[in-house]
């Protein structure tokens, strides 16, 4: 199953061009959803106004070279390894994030290049597609059931669904339905494979069509916010925060931070 390109098999029933149009429509939905989100929430406007305000409070001038190095460091640390999060949350986020990237890229490659019944797909692509989906499920369900702040800090049950869950839930459900559909199709269990294909399509529509209502766009906003944070640290404005102290370790009693689950 994991070395079979599910889209190649699917092309016996659904023309390749239809699949390609579906992918393009999903991309358009993401772009449109993000733009409407930005217009409605005015978050980008706030972000740039805040950056301008911070610049006025700057105590140092940051050179262009230094700015580039801050951006590179932020991308390497805050974006690619999500250093903002710690411990298990970071691991779950990395699993979900890289799983999603692998899943989407391999989906696009297979749909645009190897989605005819005759096409011979390099086995690495379906392998990565399934691996990506499994990574999403591992990171997503781990986060969903155990690590979600609603469960960990608020003490709510894992099955309580709120609007903020739209993104993570539609993502893990998409990966799950994709895996089940691929298995059923490879095993030749007709009827059930069609059902899970429909569910896979519907969950994709919710995931990409729900950008305006979900947290999907955080993947575009978060890197920008991280860069601004580090630039503010470098120019001395630092959002009016005190500078780090020069005291040695354990200057006082100190206390190690505990996981926020004392509800």
């Amino acid at each position: 199953m994991i070395t079979i390109n599910p889209f190649s098999q699917l092309s016996e029933f659904i023309p390749s061009i239809a699949m390609q149009i579906f992918v393009v429509v999903m991309i358009v939905l993401v772009v449109a959803g993000t733009v409407i989100d930005m217009i409605h929430k005015k978050n980008v406007k706030y972000f740039f106004e805040n950056a301008k305000k911070a610049k006025k409070q700057a105590t140092r001038t940051v050179s262009a070279g230094k700015k580039v190095s801050i951006v590179i460091k932020t991308v390497a640390s805050d974006v690619l390894t999500t250093s903002e999060l710690g411990g298990k949350r970071r691991l779950a986020h990395l699993l979900g994030m890289y799983g999603t990237i692998i899943f989407w890229i391999t989906s696009a490659i297979m749909i645009f290049n190897y989605s005819t019944p005759e096409s011979v797909t390099p086995s690495i692509l379906p392998l990565l597609w399934h691996l990506g989906a499994i990574m999403i499920c591992l990171g997503g369900y781990w986060f969903w059931i155990f690590l979600r702040v609603d469960v960990l800090a608020e003490g709510n049950p894992w099955y309580r669904v709120i609007k903020a869950d739209l993104f993570v839930l539609s993502l893990v459900v998409t990966a799950t339905f994709g895996l089940v559909w691929s298995y059923l199709q490879a095993a030749g269990i007709s009827g059930w494979d069609t059902l899970f294909l429909v569910l896979f399509i519907l969950s994709n529509l919710v995931l990409f069509g729900g950008v305006y209502w979900s947290k999907f766009a955080h993947m575009f906003y978060k890197p920008g916010a991280a860069i601004q944070k580090h630039l503010a640290e470098a120019d001395g404005s630092n959002e009016n925060l005190p500078a780090p102290t020069d005291k040695p370790k354990q200057f006082g009693l100190g206390i190690n931070r505990e996981a926020p689950k004392h509800y």
């Binding site: 800090a153 947290k215 354990q250 006082g252 100190g254």
Partner: protein, 156 residues
């Protein structure tokens, strides 16, 4: 004064939810970021401001005694055991303070409520608060003021 959250900084970790003694810091159901659900009930204790690992929580002063343009921000560095304050006055004057962290670990002086028994309905309906009357160092019921001991002219 009451706390508010910079949404671009908050990562929804839940430390403020955990520590708020007034139980007003919660997670927003739409964007999964922290939010002060009832600013009127904020004690201004700064517990959440200090606990926030992202420094995403700030305190908004009332305009009558904390005019626009001021700022009181805090940085807690656990590995050093320090807590630093930066007070910025409206006229631009800045004062910096550094103190040792004196917070006690969870469970040492702060009860682990999650491990305690859920109070019965009678206990919830009674006038006694948590840990009373033992916490008041008395073994009897709450002390009662007899009406005849009231000052002259005070009646209920």
């Amino acid at each position: 004064m009451s706390t508010f959250v910079y949404m671009t900084r908050c990562d929804g970790c839940g430390h403020c939810v955990d520590i708020c003694p007034s139980d007003i810091m919660h997670i927003d159901e739409t964007i999964r970021r922290a939010v002060n659900i009832e600013p009127n009930f904020c004690w201004e204790c700064y517990a959440c401001v200090k606990a926030c690992p992202q420094n995403a929580i700030d305190v908004r002063g009332y305009a009558d005694f904390a005019p626009m343009g001021h700022s009181v921000r805090v940085l807690r560095e656990e590995e050093k055991g320090t807590i630093s304050w930066k007070i910025k006055f409206r006229n631009g004057k800045v004062k910096d303070f550094v103190s040792p962290i004196t917070t006690k670990p969870w469970g040492k002086y702060i009860p682990k409520l999650a491990e305690l028994e859920i109070p019965s309905k009678e206990a919830l309906d009674s006038q006694l608060l948590y840990a009373e009357p033992k916490g008041l160092n008395i073994d009897t019921e709450l002390p009662e003021m007899k009406k005849e001991r009231f000052k002259q002219g005070v009646y209920y």
